[in-house]
């Protein structure tokens, strides 16, 4: 293992002990913490933050589920228990700005915590990455070349329709110098991957097809070799769909931050 640079992941507790405050709190989320595939996204994003020299921190073991799936399944009690416990922690650290790689955490923290006393400036990592690109802090480096590769972007409902973030992830992908090809149903008309509203945590109701298969067929029809996502649940659903179509050798599913990390050689 030869890394020129050592990446670090400071926690809020570390910084507080040193009487410091981060520029931004990285809210990792449950999938980013526990899901083997999405942990790689968390790591890619942390490497970018390190590389660019952002003073960030995570909550580490003090973080807990935002309560989003519980709320959408109908369990408001559980949601509010989670929310209020999280808000106590966040307010305790005087957190002002939060970035997260999960659109569900993003939506909940941004739109639903204020009513319960948690008011923060919350942005999604696609917006954060776009900012870094616009400021010239992420530069095209001698990493992987994307020239001539076809990438299609799958809009996450809770990023797109829910919060109207359509351009930021596309802007990030444009920095790769790849060939961005769009699916038929995109942006406000984007088709869900099938995971939202608690569906990820149960078997689908009886039907004639799985939603993720329907969506992956549309993605494959673009001829792209890479499906870019910006959500842990879309990541799983799209990856499963690609496997269902036996295309996993030809088509890969990546989060936008992984693609930027690859481009940067991180």
């Amino acid at each position: 293992m030869t890394t020129e640079k050592t990446y670090t992941v400071p926690t809020m507790a570390d910084l507080a002990a040193a009487n410091e405050e981060p520029e931004v709190l990285f809210w990792v989320g449950c999938a980013g913490s526990f899901d083997d595939r999405y942990k790689r996204v968390t790591i890619a994003f942390v490497r970018i933050l390190n590389h660019v020299g952002i003073k960030f921190a995570v909550l580490g073991p003090e973080e807990a589920c935002t309560g989003d799936p519980a709320r959408r399944a109908g369990n408001e009690f559980l949601f509010q228990m989670q929310a209020m416990a999280n808000i106590q922690v966040l307010n305790g650290y005087n957190v002002k700005k939060i970035v997260t790689a999960c659109p569900h955490c993003f939506n909940t923290l941004k739109n639903e915590y204020p009513d319960l006393g948690g008011k923060y400036d919350v942005i999604h990592h696609s917006q954060f990455l776009q900012g870094l690109i616009d400021e010239g802090r992420i530069k095209v480096k001698d990493g992987e070349s994307f020239k001539g590769r076809k990438i299609t972007f799958h809009d996450s409902c809770y990023l797109g329709r829910a919060n109207k973030v359509y351009e930021a992830p596309r802007h990030v992908l444009a920095a790769l110098d790849a060939d961005l090809v769009e699916m038929k149903r995109v942006r406000a008309n984007g088709l869900c991957c099938g995971a939202g509203g608690g569906q990820y945590f149960k078997e689908p109701e009886p039907g004639n097809k799985d939603v993720n298969v329907e969506r992956v067929e549309e993605a494959l029809a673009t001829g792209a070799d890479t499906i870019a996502v910006a959500c842990p649940f879309c990541m799983t659903m799209m990856s499963d769909g690609v496997k269902n179509k036996n295309q996993e050798d030809k088509v890969r599913v990546y989060d936008i931050s992984e693609l930027i990390a690859q481009k940067q050689g991180l």
Partner: protein, 463 residues
């Protein structure tokens, strides 16, 4: 003869006005069954939304051609109403083309515009009938959508055919009137030289040249009466039909949601209980108050007595949900965009709205048959909407996005889910597992919370 016509006309007008006001009161009472919620805030933003989405029909233009066709009917509906004003005054006063002598140069231009629109409406209604019954656009078909039973399909056909007949009556009335004017018959002749032939109806005049004067007068009167009585009957019919959107579409958009589509509404009554359970003082906001972003006190507009959690029936929903139901035109754009429906699940957002209105109309029928205090033992969840339907929703908001008049079926689904989970404790088993994982492990999966930060150990490992 004239005076008899005037008396009949005033009688018809009064009867229709009385009946419609009765219907309006009933529908308004049904909408008010919903829980109160203040939607009179942010007037400028609401007005702007209404101008764009309702008056400007912004969302209809997602499909440009269909948007344009619908706009022709809409513009026809709004603008031809100016002509209705003259028709009504003529009917009451026993006059003929009352405005013509006073606004002579403008008059013929106005009628030309009305005729052009009437012709446009006629053509578009034929195209729309063809889309439904010949081209068989999927979202209107019962084979594909079980909520498109006989009545909704018949309702659509009745409306389109009625509009076609009304436009034919209007155009042929003008044509027969023009012929009578040319011939100088009675008072019709008085407008000779004042009112010229009109844009469209001039081409229909040959149909009437073989008529005798008496026959022509008979046709002119019949067409005039059919046209106005048709409009009055249509106005009554609309209150029983999906077509009510022509009136309710505007307030429905005005009062529609302003918050981001992804935001689920907070339940302040639960906040208090959770704060007590966690031992948090009841005021936790940074500013030391419980006021939310809108400057409202949580619970300020919730009833003093906490009802049930979530919604089992229309009484538990908000009034805007019920106005949504009465405004729904059953176009099915929501259902065509719904990922659950596309993949063959039972959920159809359109059916959620239709079921909600059916429930309200059943309650209304109950009042009329058994008195105003009547309550049956049915409920929206269970007797109209099934658990399988609400459990299939991915909360992706495609339905809200697709609706041309900002109806929110998702809000109803989520309120029904809240009832199902919090009052009946009947979540699917795997959701209960997810709940208990969140409660015990702080994540929806069964991982130890102490392992939550383990990923950081791999941050320096080469990929």
């Amino acid at each position: 003869m004239e005076i008899i016509q005037q008396i009949l006309f005033v009688a018809a007008l009064t009867a229709v006005a009385w009946y419609i006001s009765k219907r309006v009161r009933l529908i308004s009472r049904a909408i008010k069954l919903g829980r109160p919620e203040n939607r009179y805030d942010h007037a400028d933003e609401r007005l702007k939304t209404m101008l764009l989405v309702a008056f400007g029909q912004k969302k209809m233009f997602t499909n440009l051609l269909v948007g344009l066709m619908h706009f022709v009917i809409y513009a026809g509906f709004i603008i031809i109403n100016i002509e209705i004003l003259e028709i009504i005054l003529d009917g009451v006063l026993g006059t003929h083309r009352l405005f013509a002598p006073y606004i002579t140069p403008v008059y013929s231009i106005l009628i030309d515009v009305f005729e052009l629109l009437a012709f446009g409406v006629l053509i578009v209604c034929i195209v729309f009938l063809c889309r439904r019954f010949v081209a068989r656009v999927a979202r209107f078909q019962q084979e594909r959508h079980r909520e498109m039973t006989e009545w909704p399909r018949k309702d659509a056909a009745i409306i389109l055919i009625a509009e076609i007949l009304l436009m034919i009556a209007f155009l042929t009335w003008n044509a027969s009137d023009s012929v009578l004017r040319d011939r100088g018959v009675g008072h019709y002749g008085e407008l000779r030289g004042i009112v010229p032939d009109f844009l469209i109806s001039q081409y229909l005049k040959p149909l009437f040249t073989s008529f005798s004067d008496t026959g022509l007068i008979a046709y002119e009167r019949t067409a005039w009466w059919l046209h106005i009585l048709g409009i009055l009957a249509f106005a009554i019919y609309v209150t029983y039909s999906k077509h009510l959107h022509i009136a309710l579409g505007f307030p429905n958009v005005y009062f529609s949601d302003l918050q981001p589509k992804g935001e689920m509404q907070n339940m302040p009554e639960i906040t208090k209980e959770v704060q007590l359970a966690l031992g948090i003082p009841l005021s936790t906001n940074a500013d030391g108050s419980q006021a939310n972003d809108n400057g409202e006190q949580p619970g300020a507009d919730s009833p003093a007595e906490i009802g049930r959690f979530g919604a089992k029936d229309v009484y538990d929903l908000k009034w805007i949900n019920l106005m949504n139901a009465y405004s729904c035109t059953e176009c099915g754009r929501c259902t065509s965009a719904c990922p659950a429906n596309i993949t063959g699940k039972k959920l159809s957002p359109r059916k959620i709205m239709m079921d909600t209105r059916d429930r309200l109309e059943d309650i209304r029928r109950g009042w009329q048959a058994n008195g105003d205090d009547y309550k049956d033992d049915k409920s929206l969840l269970g007797d109209y909407i099934t658990v399988e339907e609400i459990n299939a929703c991915t909360t992706c908001q495609a339905c809200i996005n697709a609706c041309p008049i900002n109806i929110n079926p998702l809000d109803i689904i989520l309120q029904l889910r809240r009832y199902r989970v919090m009052e009946e404790s009947q979540a699917p088993a795997s959701w209960n597992a997810m709940f208990s994982n969140i409660e015990n492990n702080m994540a929806p999966w069964k991982f130890s919370p102490s392992d939550r930060f383990n990923w950081a150990d791999q941050v320096n490992e080469v990929k």
